[in-house]
């Protein structure tokens, strides 16, 4: 959602009202919106780091009309979408999305049995949970109920990736705090932190299992990671985009690039040293 140019929809009405039939249609037929949401979804799926060549079972939280979930289908995965707006879901049905849909409110919790999903994504939806749209809404409680039930519904070691538009750093802090309280580890991955336009925030959560390394943000040199607490103030440096460069295979730069790529996916990579990619002396 283009938050910069349209103001914050979260401030205008509760989600089940804002995402009316009219808005659902407008949203889903806007080619720029489709492009943005697909782009964000693809990056989120990359950050999920699902096993290669295996069809997985994924939860899409705040799935809307299915723009995000379609990217999962494209990659051969099966998914269940949950959303609070019946009109958005009706548009998804109309578009013959290949998945299953549930009308539900994140803040009530995820209604699934333990260990159901291999991963979860949520694109441009989580910030809605910080609003108190009803008298009985208590955002910290709703966030905790959401994260704790989500944790249970994921298989051990699975990831949940949220692309979100927090209103301010206090909101982001509340969200991550409640996620950690519910048992998740992980942290924030920020793509292009120095660009007002391209900057995107991903909350990457790990549901138990072996300790995992936080993936790297695009266009950054450092990501922010704390086991229990997350701070949002670390300095980040600009780094040249490395994709598509033409270093000869096996050269030092080629190795550094490859390691960089793997770090971005959050894979275990040995630290770079002065020995990295150095010519070995022939052994006699």
């Amino acid at each position: 959602m283009a938050h910069s140019s349209h103001g914050r929809p979260e401030r205008s009405a509760p989600p089940e009202i804002f995402y009316s039939e009219q808005e659902a249609r407008k949203y889903t037929s806007n080619s720029r919106m489709i492009e943005i949401q697909s782009h964000l979804s693809e990056r989120a799926i990359e950050l999920l780091r699902l096993p290669d060549d295996q069809p997985c079972f994924i939860l899409d939280i705040g799935c809307g009309s299915g723009l995000s979930g379609e990217c999962l289908t494209d990659q051969g995965h099966y998914w269940v979408g949950i959303d609070i707006s019946q009109p958005m879901l009706d548009v998804a049905v109309e578009r013959e999305i290949e998945c299953d849909l549930i009308l539900g409110d994140m803040g009530f919790g995820m209604p699934f049995k333990a260990g159901t999903f291999d991963g979860a994504i949520s694109i441009s939806a989580l910030q809605w949970l910080c609003n108190a749209d009803k008298k009985f809404h208590n955002p910290p409680k709703r966030l905790y109920q959401f994260f704790s039930t989500l944790y249970a519904s994921l298989s051990r070691g699975a990831r949940a990736i949220f692309q979100l538009y927090p209103e301010n750093s206090a909101q982001l802090e509340l969200i991550t705090h409640q996620a950690m309280k519910a048992g998740f580890t992980g942290g924030l991955v920020i793509d292009f932190p120095n660009s007002t336009k391209a900057k995107k925030i991903f909350l990457c959560l790990f549901a138990g299992g072996a300790s995992q390394q936080l993936p790297k943000g695009l266009g950054t040199e450092t990501t922010i990671e704390r086991k229990n607490q997350i701070s949002f103030t670390e300095k980040r440096e600009r780094v040249k985009q490395i994709r598509g460069s033409k270093n000869p295979k096996g050269s030092k730069n080629w190795i550094l690039e490859k390691k960089e790529r793997r770090r971005r996916q959050g894979k275990e990579v040995r630290a770079d040293t002065k020995y990295t990619g150095r010519k070995r002396k022939p052994v006699f």
Partner: protein
């Protein structure tokens, strides 16, 4: 709603409900939609399923005739078994009806194939 999703759904988000599983189904409209057969996916899902709950759900919607009552050994290589599971899990869909919480009797309506799991204020 596919029966795969039904097999994963619970009503334990209702305050006071312990398991909320499996949800009963009363269907007034059931459809069969063609879905490509993916033996890898079906095999991967088998260990996650509650098979008796799947048999019961298939019975509730009138599609249990073909479904084996138990998971067969070495199902990964048993295409016939996987195809039957595929059919019941992914092709049979509840379009209209209700899901029923086994503990509280609370009904969750299914409209346009979408179960409504929204709660009231006093259920949270």
């Amino acid at each position: 709603m596919k029966l795969l999703t039904h097999n994963m759904l619970t009503s334990k988000i209702i305050k006071g409900v312990q398991q909320g599983y499996p949800l009963g189904i009363t269907a007034t409209k059931v459809d069969v939609k063609e879905v490509d057969f993916n033996p890898d996916f079906v095999s991967r899902m088998i260990p996650k399923l509650d098979w008796p709950a799947l048999c019961k759900a298939a019975e509730d919607v009138g599609h249990s005739a073909e479904l084996p009552k138990e998971v067969v050994p070495e199902y990964e290589t048993n295409e016939e078994f996987l195809k039957k599971a595929h059919h019941v899990l992914l092709q049979v869909e509840v379009i209209e009806g209700n899901l029923v919480c086994p503990e509280s009797g609370r009904k969750f309506p299914v409209n346009n194939g979408i179960p409504n799991m929204l709660l009231n204020e006093d259920e949270v």
